[in-house]
């Protein structure tokens, strides 16, 4: 909040400057600073927060430039009316690209980067060879510039300042909202984010659209500022190079990082102007990029903040009181999980062959079977990570099959991973808060943190709230998985070997925890190899082998079935 007021105040004070008569030179210089602040910050909305590095920011910037040029110089529209159109054109371009590209599940980050870079060159080719430009370039010198203040430089200054403040406000709002939280989670582990309930496709598309729209407006203003456009200058590598560099320098994951980077780089580039010096300047900027990537990967702003915060948080670490009563007070209506004839193949391997099972509220069902029998695949199918080839999964009255994973999470299905997969850049508290925000609990961000604290207390991790996942040991990470699964206020929990790798004392406390979870009316399906825990905990056991249910029933009966003994120990032991 304090930061938002500071931003607004700074914007207002800076907006006064042209009125008191700032020399035109400074107005031009500051125009460029704000121009780059807007561009770099807008780039980071998708690429910094969600980690999908785009090298195509120049395409959206260029689309904005040529939209304004075509509308004003070509069709005689007024400049200010053309600006929103520039935003719309750039946004539509990004939505078109995103709608195709983000559907591809396995599209890795670096492919996205190359694809966007290629798009820039394709767009440049089209503009160069059509009437949008045609080769000689476009002049905007006859287009009237609206006078916001007396001087033209003052007008550009105000336009860029307005855009920069708006962009920063958007960045600040996003980083402290659900959208930002979801984007950060996508950055760390997109699959897990989806399973925790983040609508990853929609979030990436929104961030991309916003990012491109702002770049389009920045390009539109810049078209008037330079007043003569050529394709090689517009779609040059300068824009994508500089926005990446500025954001990486300042810290692409912080709302203020790209702006700080933009100010520093613009100022240092101002030292190299004209002819040979400009070439040298570009080389120096590129060299700095390499050094930063290698030596200071997180960027300036986060590095400084972390140092400052480190001191404060150590002092405040103790003041956490358990508020267990509040947690889970709003449990969702219980429901039964039903799998009916579920099939799933991977290539030629039939991982599931018609599996049917059900778990009632407050029931603990153990899923056992040899390695490769399809236990984890079943969990992946229920949670929506893999689609079922045939069959249905239902939760109460709702059908889960066919829904994206984040909707399934929203309906109240949580899971843990056999090898814990926490979000690497999130503290333990934030990991759990994310699940509370996006799971079926749907908490507001502040409420989610309180909720998360309670679940950390519940799992005994209360004192590790501020720790990053890499600072936790295996047992703590397993319990963090559990806390995260619980924070979504699930109706069903799928536990994938939570006990493996724990020592006997840790197992005892985990067993105790699972019992407590059951008391809340949650249906629990747990995959486990540890027979003692299976016998101790489960109400029923389902035995899988090669994708088929070979036995089911009370724990002792199921494990004594002839087929089960045969599968585990071989034929000779069946007596």
């Amino acid at each position: 909040m304090r930061q938002a007021i500071g931003l607004l105040a700074a914007g207002l004070i800076l907006a006064m400057l042209p009125l008191v008569g700032l020399p035109a030179f400074y107005e031009s210089f500051l125009y460029l600073v704000f121009h780059w602040v807007a561009l770099a910050t807008s780039w980071s909305l998708l690429s910094g927060y969600a980690g999908y590095f785009s090298f195509g920011h120049g395409a959206f910037f260029g689309a904005g430039m040529y939209t304004v040029a075509t509308l004003t110089a070509g069709l005689g529209a007024p400049f200010l009316a053309a600006l929103p159109v520039a935003a719309v054109v750039a946004t539509l371009l990004s939505v078109g690209i995103g709608a195709v590209v983000f559907r591809v599940k396995r599209l890795r980050g670096e492919l996205f980067g190359l694809l966007t870079l290629a798009i820039t060159f394709v767009l440049a080719t089209i503009v160069l060879n059509t009437r949008l430009d045609g080769g000689p370039g476009v002049y905007l010198s006859n287009v009237p510039l609206p006078r916001l203040v007396a001087s033209p430089t003052g007008t550009f200054y105000l336009l860029a300042l307005g855009l920069a403040v708006l962009t920063l406000a958007a960045a600040y709002t996003i980083t402290s909202s659900r959208l930002g939280l979801g984007l950060f989670a996508i950055h760390d582990d997109e699959d897990v984010a989806e399973v925790e309930g983040v609508p990853t496709f929609a979030y990436k598309l929104v961030a991309f659209a916003l990012s491109a729209g702002i770049a389009g407006v920045a390009g539109g203003i810049h078209a008037m500022y330079v007043s003569y456009l050529t394709v090689p200058d517009t779609f040059s590598i300068t824009v994508p190079l500089y926005v990446v560099l500025m954001s990486v320098l300042g810290g692409a994951r912080h709302w203020l990082g790209p702006a700080v980077g933009a100010a520093l780089i613009t100022a240092s580039l101002y030292a190299f102007t004209g002819g040979q010096q400009a070439i040298l300047g570009r080389a120096v900027v590129a060299f700095v990029l390499i050094l930063i990537v290698l030596l200071l990967p997180e960027g300036l702003v986060p590095a400084v903040l972390r140092r400052a915060r480190g001191r404060r948080e150590r002092a405040a670490d103790v003041a956490v009181s358990p508020i267990l009563a509040a947690a889970g007070a709003r449990t969702e209506a219980p429901a039964t999980l039903d799998c009916r004839d579920v099939w799933r193949a991977f290539g030629g391997i039939q991982a599931l062959r018609g599996v049917s099972l059900s778990v009632a509220p407050g029931e603990i069902v153990a899923l056992v079977g040899p390695n490769g029998s399809g236990k984890t695949t079943l969990i992946n199918v229920i949670s929506g990570h893999h689609a079922a080839d045939r069959g249905r999964v239902e939760l109460g009255a709702a059908t889960l099959t066919g829904r994206p994973a984040h909707e399934i999470a929203g309906l109240g299905v949580s899971r843990t991973y056999q090898i814990p997969r926490p979000f690497a850049h999130f503290s333990a508290l934030d990991n759990v808060a994310l699940a509370a925000t996006f799971g079926s609990a749907r908490c507001a961000p502040a409420e989610a943190r309180a909720e998360a604290r309670a679940w950390l207390e519940f799992t005994g991790l209360g004192r590790r709230a501020a720790a990053l996942p890499h600072e936790l040991n295996l047992h703590e990470r397993k319990f963090l998985e559990l806390a995260r699964a619980l924070a979504g206020r699930p109706r069903v929990i799928l536990l994938d070997e939570v006990l493996s790798g724990l020592n006997p004392g840790e197992i005892a406390s985990a067993v105790h925890l699972i019992r407590q979870i059951r008391e809340r009316g949650v249906a629990i399906l747990f995959v486990e190899h540890l027979m003692r825990a299976v016998l101790e905990l489960s109400d029923r056991v389902v035995v899988l082998n090669e994708g088929e249910v070979i036995a089911a029933g009370g724990p002792r009966e199921a494990m004594r079935a002839a087929r089960v003994i045969e599968v585990y120990l071989g034929k000779a032991h069946v007596a």
Binding site: V104, P232, L289
Partner: protein, 283 residues
């Protein structure tokens, strides 16, 4: 509809252009597929090689193959040094994109500093030589480039397939830790591969100097097309890169003949999009 001769000629020039794409794609595909490093500076290195060939020929009257004889080993060494830096700072697939992006810009600035942004043309007596096959003309130099690409692609494939170092590299690309546990010295092999990749950039550069007009910004002109070739051909697959080069080259040049030249760059991109959307698991 253009005549059959024109169509035939455009297929020929497409195949030849594709050979050059493949030559550029080869080194890129190797380092991306087997070292998990995306080397954007590969194009800049190739263009640097072209300018050096031009300079050696222009100023010292050194024949292009002699120039290449100097440049290729030097580039091999450069590739090894580059990988020393990458290994020292544990550059990942992703950061390699940023680091080599910066490196490409530095090389571009360097080229612009020495040779200015003006177009340069290396005039040689072979530039206009061509072989006549029926009604079709096959330019000699481009044919040579194409044959070189094919030879290198097949030789590299055989090297990866049949030699110990090749197998070790493929194993390490799948799972470095596991390959290491079985005694593969991945780091040493990676230096060799990085060197070879850069040396291929040198070879491509020599042909670029002979075939096309040089300008610093050309570094970025190939980028989209060649990356499309690399991805379509399959990462780390030299013969795949060759075939993908032919595919892209022919489809581009036929598009130019049938439709307008303006649409040619869209072809490789459309094929790439199609592949990414329909067969993402192949990449």
């Amino acid at each position: 509809m253009p005549s059959l001769t024109l169509l035939g000629q455009s297929v020929v020039s497409g195949l030849l252009a594709g050979g050059l794409y493949a030559l550029l794609a080869l080194g890129l595909s190797l380092s991306w597929g087997l070292l998990r490093l995306v080397n954007l500076s590969h194009f800049a290195l190739a263009l640097l090689g072209a300018y050096l060939t031009y300079q050696l020929g222009h100023a010292f009257h050194l024949a292009p193959w002699l120039a290449a004889g100097l440049i290729v080993p030097a580039f091999f060494a450069l590739g090894v040094v580059l990988h020393v830096v990458f290994a020292r700072f544990r550059v990942t697939e992703f950061t390699s994109l940023l680091v080599t992006f910066g490196l490409a810009v530095i090389l571009e600035s360097l080229i612009q500093w020495f040779w200015t942004a003006d177009y340069r043309r290396y005039e040689t007596p072979w530039a206009s030589a061509s072989i006549r096959v029926g009604p079709l003309f096959v330019p000699t130099l481009e044919l040579l480039a194409c044959l070189t690409a094919a030879t290198l692609a097949v030789a590299t494939w055989a090297w990866l397939r049949f030699t110990y170092v090749g197998k070790a590299l493929r194993a390490a690309a799948e799972d470095p830790a596991m390959a290491g546990a079985f005694g593969v010295n991945h780091r040493a092999h990676a230096f060799v591969l990085s060197g070879i990749s850069a040396a291929y950039a040198g070879v491509a550069g020599a042909f670029i100097a002979l075939i096309s007009t040089l300008a610093p910004a050309q570094i970025w002109a190939w980028l989209g097309t060649v990356f499309a070739v690399v991805i379509i051909g399959g990462l780390g697959n030299p013969v795949g890169a060759l075939l993908a080069g032919f595919l892209i080259g022919v489809s581009e040049s036929v598009t130019m003949a049938v439709a307008a030249p303006a649409w040619a760059p869209l072809v490789s991109f459309s094929i790439l999009i199609g592949l990414l959307v329909l067969r993402p698991e192949r990449v």
